[in-house]
């Protein structure tokens, strides 16, 4: 019984939250990796573009809610998602047209692209704050739990409850669908293959008649989809606040690099590696230990390896270790 209780606690506080967080990171990291593979720069505006996508979705959600449209028990935000994606795609394409295309034409160094993305980051940050304000926003509705802790206790008769939030379930399911669709697209369709060809060898791809501007355009559209979904799911799961999205930049970059920049499979693996390490290192293991260990060995402290405030440190340390020992990442990415 104690072992079951420990297992449920572990699932409830570590495995499920880390799965959801990992899916969100993976979606974000896929975006970073795609931009890196096709446009060949690290996009610093990624976190703020994510906030923009989530913001558009939230505004449409509010509009739906005010009209009484709902798909209960699922959150209305799901219905608003396509609109958010279209809005974000338009915004990203406009940014590309106004900012990045010029530097592509003059074949600027990657670092100039990074600088430009910094400018875009400022603007996006300003726009998001301008429209929706810098504060927390609530937009979740529908059923809160798939399994609530009380029901679980009643069913199983265990001391520990297991809560499985709708947002967590949605995140995991959506992430699986999106990733499957993305891999099908990259591996099976003609356009996807041309994207991979462009990423592998730009000159050869150009030689065989692939239109670079089209590849870039499709990349931005896919990225818009990925980040809007990731941003909205993160907002549903936790909370929407523009500044937290800026801070997500670090774990997202860490995921992409740990997996290997430019490798989609790596981005997913990286996302889960980062999420699971963040959660396990900052989780207070006292409860689990109390169930598993005999009474005489019961820990007096929280058995928390590091306080939650250091969760960025975790992603950073993993990043450094990978950079030192395997600079191309777990799944051989590009390293110039």
């Amino acid at each position: 019984m104690d072992i079951l209780n420990a297992l449920v606690t572990l699932l409830n506080f570590v495995v499920i939250p880390a799965m959801a967080y990992g899916s969100q990171l993976a979606l974000g990291a896929l975006g970073v990796t795609l931009i890196y593979g096709i446009l060949r720069f690290s996009n610093f505006a990624h976190g703020d573009s994510m906030a923009f996508g989530a913001m558009v979705t939230i505004l449409v959600t509010w509009w739906f809610q005010s009209m009484g449209v709902s798909i209960d028990p699922l959150p209305t935000a799901l219905l608003a998602l396509p609109f958010g994606i279209v809005g974000t795609a338009l915004m990203l394409l406009a940014t590309d047209r106004v900012v990045y295309r010029f530097y592509r034409r003059v074949k600027a160094k990657p670092i100039v692209f990074v600088m430009a993305s910094m400018g875009v980051m400022f603007i996006m940050n300003g726009v998001v704050r301008f429209i929706i304000g810098p504060d927390d926003q609530q937009f979740g509705d529908g059923a809160r739990f798939i399994i609530s802790a009380r029901d679980f206790k009643a069913w199983t008769g265990l001391d520990e409850g297991l809560a499985f939030k709708t947002s967590q379930g949605l995140t995991i399911v959506t992430a699986v669908i999106v990733v499957a669709a993305l891999f099908w697209f990259l591996n099976r369709t003609r356009t996807g293959k041309s994207m991979r060809a462009f990423s592998d060898n730009e000159d050869l791809a150009l030689l065989s008649g692939i239109n670079p501007e089209r590849v870039v355009m499709i990349t931005w559209i896919i990225v818009a989809g990925l980040i809007t979904i990731a941003g909205t799911l993160y907002g549903l799961d936790k909370t929407f606040k523009p500044f937290t999205y800026f801070q997500l930049l670090l774990p997202i970059f860490a995921s992409a690099i740990v997996g290997g920049l430019g490798s989609p499979l790596g981005a997913i693996a990286g996302g889960f590696v980062i999420a699971f390490s963040e959660v396990t290192v900052t989780y207070a293991w006292k409860k689990v230990a109390t169930y598993l260990l005999p009474d005489s060995l019961e820990p007096s402290g929280l058995v928390q390896l590091m306080s939650t405030d250091y969760k960025f440190a975790v992603s950073f340390v993993i990043l450094i270790i990978v950079l030192l020992f395997k600079p191309t990442g777990l799944f051989k990415g590009q390293s110039v």
């Binding site: 990657p110 990074v114 910094m118 400018g119 400022f122 300003g126 670090l250 390896l305 110039v336």
Partner: protein
């Protein structure tokens, strides 16, 4: 226009901005010398930061986005040097904390040694892992008790180790020179952190340094925010001693009051201005020395070598230059300047408030300054710091003015009008982004180009 004419002209224009701010109330200018000098003081500090970033970016092409972290380290140094030691804190656990930290460092060194000496294989991995686990728990066991001891001492007022000020809790304000001593210490602290980052991330591709510095800045800030025993974390350390006189003392001195009346000012205003001006003079002195040193270094063989490396690494390598080593050197130097500026800023504020450090303000804004001013040109980055800081402060009045123009035709009290007027404050980031993109696109050389 030739450069020799352009540079003084640009600086004269900026000086005019500050004079207008001090003397007229037209448009966005407030007509208050107090506000003008306040902006000037922060602009001087920003100029030191911009100079540091220009060393890294303009001389060597290194992309450092961890400025905030180095600035925070400088601020930390000010507290650690200029505040008095908390009575009893060292006895209650200070030594234990130090012992814990030494233990932690020893664990890491032991792991490095194992990695280097043992043969590759499973045994090495297991030994290193075991060292890590044992070392970590021993570290926490020693460290945590020390922290608890220190933080229990009068937590509402102190609860931290304190600094090195010889005056003690009652008389430490008399030793204001300690704050000045803290400035180079802040530089050294930042240099140490930069050495660690540079050692790991330099030599990899340029984006990686950016991401590594972004991360280290967040970590440094997390440490300063959460380790209450070090500098009280988000509870802030206030009332740092000053290297300049206090307003109250000036107001009470008869000689000062007399001089104020001859200038036609009342004593209170005069004392505020005098204090701010003395800060300005201190900061200007530091900035001047740094600019002269930077200009000399740029023209020296060392400066030529750095630019040669920046422009063509492979060629410089072929000429026998150790590129990674030179990069590390300049990265440490530039970061030390940021640390120095951080210490100066904390001195000016008179308090350390880690809760207010934000990457957009302390890292990315400095980058806008360097790019707008002219990367690779020391005077350019100084000019950029003045211009951008002035506008960063004035964007708010400009935004309010703009919004009142836009909303002039709308009905009073309409939701859109209220929203637009309320959002004027967010114009800051937006306009900085626009400025950065415009300069990057149409004038990538900046206001004063590198020759």
């Amino acid at each position: 226009m030739s450069q020799s004419l352009r540079t003084p002209l640009m600086f004269a224009l900026v000086a005019l901005l500050f004079i207008l701010e001090g003397s007229t109330q037209v448009w966005i200018f407030s007509g208050s010398w107090n506000s003008s000098i306040t902006i000037l003081n922060m602009a001087l500090i920003s100029a030191v930061m911009a100079l540091g970033v220009n060393l890294q970016w303009g001389y060597a092409g290194l992309f450092n986005v961890g400025i905030m972290g180095f600035v925070a380290l400088g601020g930390l140094a000010t507290v650690l040097v200029s505040m008095p030691p908390t009575p009893g804190a060292w006895g209650a656990g200070g030594f234990r904390i130090v012992a814990g930290l030494v233990m932690g460092a020893a664990t890491i060194l032991l792991m490095v040694w194992q990695y280097k000496t043992m043969a590759q294989g499973r045994l090495r991995g297991l030994t290193m892992f075991a060292t890590l686990v044992v070392g970590f728990f021993v570290f926490r066991w020693i460290f945590d008790a020390g922290v608890a001891g220190v933080e229990a001492i009068n937590p509402a007022q102190t609860g931290y180790l304190g600094g090195l000020n010889p005056g003690g809790p009652d008389n430490y304000r008399a030793h204001g020179y300690m704050t000045l001593l803290a400035w180079p210490v802040g530089g050294l602290l930042a240099a140490g952190a930069a050495w660690l980052v540079g050692k790991t991330a330099l030599g990899l591709r340029s984006d990686y340094l950016a991401i590594a510095t972004l991360g280290i800045a967040e970590i440094i800030l997390a440490v300063v925010k959460n380790e209450d025993w070090l500098a009280r974390g988000v509870k802030n350390v206030i009332g740092l001693p000053r290297p300049v006189p206090y307003e109250v003392d000036l107001q009470q001195s008869a000689g000062f009051a007399e001089r104020a009346t001859t200038l036609g000012l009342d004593t209170t205003t005069a004392s505020t201005l005098a204090v701010k001006l003395s800060y300005s003079m201190l900061f200007t002195a530091v900035l001047l020395v740094l600019v002269i040193l930077a200009q000399l270094s740029l023209k020296s063989p060392w400066g030529r070598m750095m630019r040669a490396i920046r422009d063509n690494e492979v060629a410089a390598q072929a000429m026998g230059k150790d590129v990674t080593r030179r990069h590390l050197q300049i990265f440490v130097l530039g970061s030390a300047l940021c640390g120095l500026a951080g210490a100066m800023m904390t001195t000016l504020d008179g308090q350390l408030t880690p809760g207010t450090y934000q990457p957009l303000r302390y890292t990315f804004l400095i980058w806008v300054m360097v790019i707008v001013g002219g990367s690779g040109n020391n005077l350019g980055s100084v000019l950029g710091a003045f211009v951008i800081w002035f506008f960063w402060i004035q964007v708010e009045p400009i935004g309010n003015w703009l919004m009142s123009m836009v909303t002039a035709g709308m009905a009073d009290g309409s939701a859109l009008k209220t929203h637009l007027l309320d959002s004027a404050a967010h114009m800051r980031l937006f306009s900085m982004g626009i400025i950065l993109l415009l300069v990057l696109r149409f004038s990538p050389q900046g206001l004063i180009p590198e020759k």
